[in-house]
């Protein structure tokens, strides 16, 4: 009983947005609440890089970029409000920086034809582009991260983790639970024992969890934490005198503010990172064109720290895709559909990163219709008490472990939602 008039009216209202003269990149940021410490530098990095493109290059392909910020406070209900309020502005790509919001936006963005880029977070099985047509999680995802950590530990233990115990200290949310399945599979395969220890939102109370760790003394503690949970966990590890070298965070648990409060006591703590740190030419450009010009999104103090760099990297990937979309479509004012096609054809190699002033910031990767996940490589970094020091080169995950899991999970999603594979297998 479709009321066609209603349909026509509503769609006319939705479609009645003004023609846009700029490239809109919404930033669903969170500068308030218990996760703000991570949200602020990321949002600053994202916005500052876009401002830099406007100031230095006059935008992307001659069209100015515009970042529309909306505060979500890492809350899914406000995330929905933000999505609806920014969508009408001609949003090209969404980066919610929250796994919970990602889960809500996957079906919505797919229905609205807007790409969703969840860099190193969100739904892991979205790497299967065959099912998730509008969701991208290159360059890496959680299951890769779990596999990378285990690979690194294998190397340190001469190839065997037999009889060892690994505790997973995780944020009790979709985000924290994502790696469990991979780690369980790996535990079976490599013969280590996995203990799962959940920390409830927001993560300030971890007394019980660390009591358990103190009692059981696992050989390694792997952390999937975010926001205030990281600082508390690292401080608790210091208090329980857990050997910091055996405490490893994922890439959301290894930012400057996470370890600074514990300072020198936390020396030895390791974490993954999907983007390289260090002095890059692009920082000088941002300092000159953005911060000194008084256009910085924040107070400019975060320049160059871990999450700022990652936000900037996210903006760089979005800008590269937008430039590619302009090239592919031959139009300077691209649509979300152009953007999606370009993201699917995106190739990031050393020369591209070099040209953007950030040599070697991430791994080289190429996206395809089937593979929206990139290589999944990550580096390991260590806190020396004052700075993060890069320990390793990019470590590859074990695709033979993660790939079947991706296939299985995405097949279930496809079945529940009646999705046909989008890629024509040739």
């Amino acid at each position: 009983m479709k009321k066609l008039t209603m349909l026509a009216l509503t769609s006319a209202m939705v479609a009645g947005t003004p023609a846009m003269a700029d490239l809109v990149f919404p930033s669903l940021s969170y500068r308030t609440g218990p996760y703000a410490a991570g949200g602020i530098p990321f949002a600053d990095g994202y916005a500052d890089y876009m401002t830099l493109l406007n100031q230095r290059d006059g935008g992307i392909g001659g069209v100015e970029t515009r970042v529309v910020e909306c505060e979500t406070a890492y809350n899914t209900e406000r995330g929905v409000e933000c999505y609806e309020s920014t969508r009408g502005e001609g949003a090209l790509v969404y980066q919610p920086l929250s796994t919970g919001i990602t889960y809500q936006l996957i079906p919505r963005t797919t229905a609205d034809g807007i790409p969703l880029h969840t860099m190193g977070y969100g739904r892991t099985s979205a790497a299967n582009g065959n099912v998730f047509s509008h969701t991208f999680n290159y360059p890496a995802n959680y299951w890769d991260a779990a596999s990378v950590i285990v690979n690194q530990l294998l190397e340190e233990n001469d190839g065997s983790l037999e009889g060892q115990t690994i505790a997973l200290l995780y944020h009790n949310s979709a985000y924290g639970r994502e790696p469990i399945r991979t780690l369980q599979t790996l535990a079976e395969q490599e013969g280590f024992t996995l203990t799962e220890i959940a920390v409830d939102h927001p993560g300030q109370e971890q007394g019980n969890q660390w009591l358990q760790i103190r009692r059981e003394r696992p050989d390694y503690v792997v952390m999937w934490g975010w926001g205030v949970m990281n600082q508390v966990a690292i401080q608790e590890a210091v208090n329980t005198r857990y050997p910091m070298e055996n405490f490893i965070g994922n890439w959301w648990s290894g930012a400057d503010h996470d370890v600074e409060s514990a300072g020198a006591d936390a020396a030895g703590y390791r974490s993954l990172n999907m983007n390289r740190l260090g002095d890059m030419p692009v920082f000088a450009d941002i300092q000159e064109h953005v911060i000194d010009a008084g256009l910085a999104a924040g107070d400019g103090s975060n320049l160059g720290n871990v999450l700022y760099t990652r936000g900037m990297y996210a903006a760089f990937l979005a800008a590269e895709a937008a430039a590619l979309a302009q090239e592919m479509s031959g139009e300077s004012e691209i649509t979300p559909a152009h953007m999606r096609d370009a993201m699917e054809a995106l190739v990031i190699d050393a020369a591209t990163m070099e040209a953007a002033g950030m040599p070697g910031i991430g791994p080289e990767f190429a996206v395809s219709c089937e593979d929206h996940g990139g290589t999944g490589m990550a580096i390991m970094q260590q806190w020396d008490g004052e700075n993060w020091v890069t320990l390793t080169e990019f470590i590859a995950p074990d695709d033979s472990v993660t790939q079947p899991l991706v296939e299985e999970d995405s097949a279930q999603y496809a079945e529940e939602n009646g999705i046909e594979p989008q890629c024509t297998t040739g």
Binding site: M1, K2, T5, M6, L7, L9, T10, M13, V14, S29, R31, T32, A36, I40, E69, C70, E71, A73, N75, T76, E77, V80, E81, E84, S85, R87, G88, T99, G100, Y103, Q104, I106, P107, R108, T110, A111, D112, R123, T124, S125, N172, S173, A174, Y175, R177, E178, I180, R181, A198, D200, H201, L405, D409, Q412, E416, N417, G418
Partner: protein
């Protein structure tokens, strides 16, 4: 001026006992219904539906539900979030287990399921009262959220423990999706509007009937109520059942129609219980209108402030969020100081004044 009551007489008892005995009120109510059911669906777009109206309607159901228990029957509950989660997970299990089922049946069944769970957790209310009961329901809140996190059967063994709503239709012969990303804004709105209309109509008539009078007798003084022949077991448990039915429906709609994907600890956590409790305290305990006013205050005001501060005044997003906390907090204090019985009482007083205006004596 506003109220012209000359010639507005009641000639029968039923006329005198109707919900809106004043003609002006009655016509205004019909007008609101007409606008809500016929005009709004034509004007609504995704933003208005998803950011304002649908959450308002859904929270209004939860507020009515809690108001039945706390405002009418006097049993304080902090388990609202947990009961909403029961509704949501029942919906999810039904939607995935029976793909052919329509949303009206699913939502009603979720309400029934929650009512049963609510009765089970309401049993302690026969022995404990007041703050002690609040703590007992708090246990329900934490237990239910823990259970939905812990038992993988509830989230169909998905990797992340998230549940997400597939596309389902309005009713079995109305093939109009109301869940999933392809649902039209107006369809979702009408679906919620229908539930709100029927449920608030039922609530209004329950609370002024014999069941409601029993609840209020228990609320006002349970010993006296028992002496005059009110069965406390029946009164308290029916209040828990009806209240949980409403809360469960609201939780189910929040998941299926509004959010689409849910993380139980975040969406149905203790903060949700407090949010709904604040709604009825600000709106007015023991008032159906108060439930709507409270839901509007807590849901619409933050969004309206955001529109004002960020989109109109161009303030920084973080600064405006902090301002929102300050302004909403100050308004809550202001309203509760001006009228401790909530917005409903404030409205009732204003109405008295308006009826007498311009000759107050």
């Amino acid at each position: 001026m506003f109220y012209r009551e000359a010639g507005d007489f009641s000639t029968t008892y039923s006329e005198d006992n109707q919900t809106f005995p004043i003609k002006f009120d009655r016509y205004r109510y019909y007008l609101v219904l007409l606008v809500g059911a016929v005009v709004v669906p034509f004007l609504i777009n995704d933003y208005w539906a998803n950011s304002l109206l649908i959450p308002f309607l859904i929270y209004a159901i939860a507020a009515i539900g809690l108001n039945i228990l706390t405002g009418y029957c006097g049993q304080v509950s902090l388990g609202t979030g947990g009961f909403m989660a029961v509704g949501a997970y029942t919906s999810y299990k039904l939607m995935t287990a029976f793909p052919g089922l329509d949303m009206i049946s699913i939502t009603l069944l979720s309400g029934v399921m929650t009512a049963m769970v609510g009765v089970a957790f309401g049993l302690p209310s026969l022995r404990i009262k007041g703050f002690y009961l609040a703590v007992a329901t708090l246990a329900a809140q934490f237990f239910l959220v823990w259970m939905f996190n812990k038992v993988p059967w509830f989230f169909n063994y998905s990797a992340s423990g998230q549940i997400s709503a597939p596309e389902r239709d309005f009713f079995y012969f109305i093939n109009l999706p109301v869940t999933g990303p392809n649902a039209e804004a107006w369809a979702k709105y009408l679906f919620c509007f229908l539930f709100v209309f029927v449920l608030s109509w039922v609530a209004r008539n329950l609370t002024r009937g014999s069941v409601g009078r029993q609840w209020m007798a228990i609320r006002d003084m349970d010993i006296a109520a028992e002496i005059i022949g009110v069965n406390p077991l029946k009164a308290k448990l029916t209040a828990f059942a009806v209240s949980s039915f409403y809360v469960g429906i609201s939780g189910a709609l929040l998941f299926t129609v509004y959010l689409g994907a849910v993380e139980v600890g975040e969406v149905y956590g203790i903060t949700k219980s407090f949010l709904v409790l604040f709604m009825i305290i600000i709106g007015g305990l023991g008032s159906i209108f108060g439930s709507f006013a409270g839901a509007a205050f807590m849901v619409l005001l933050p969004v309206a402030l955001k529109l004002l501060l960020v989109d109109t005044m161009g303030l920084d997003t973080a600064l405006s969020t902090h301002f929102q906390f300050v302004i909403v907090g100050a308004l809550i204090m202001f309203f509760l100081i001006v009228e401790p019985h909530g917005l409903a009482r404030l409205w009732a007083l204003a109405k008295e004044k308006l009826r007498l205006w311009p000759f107050p004596h």
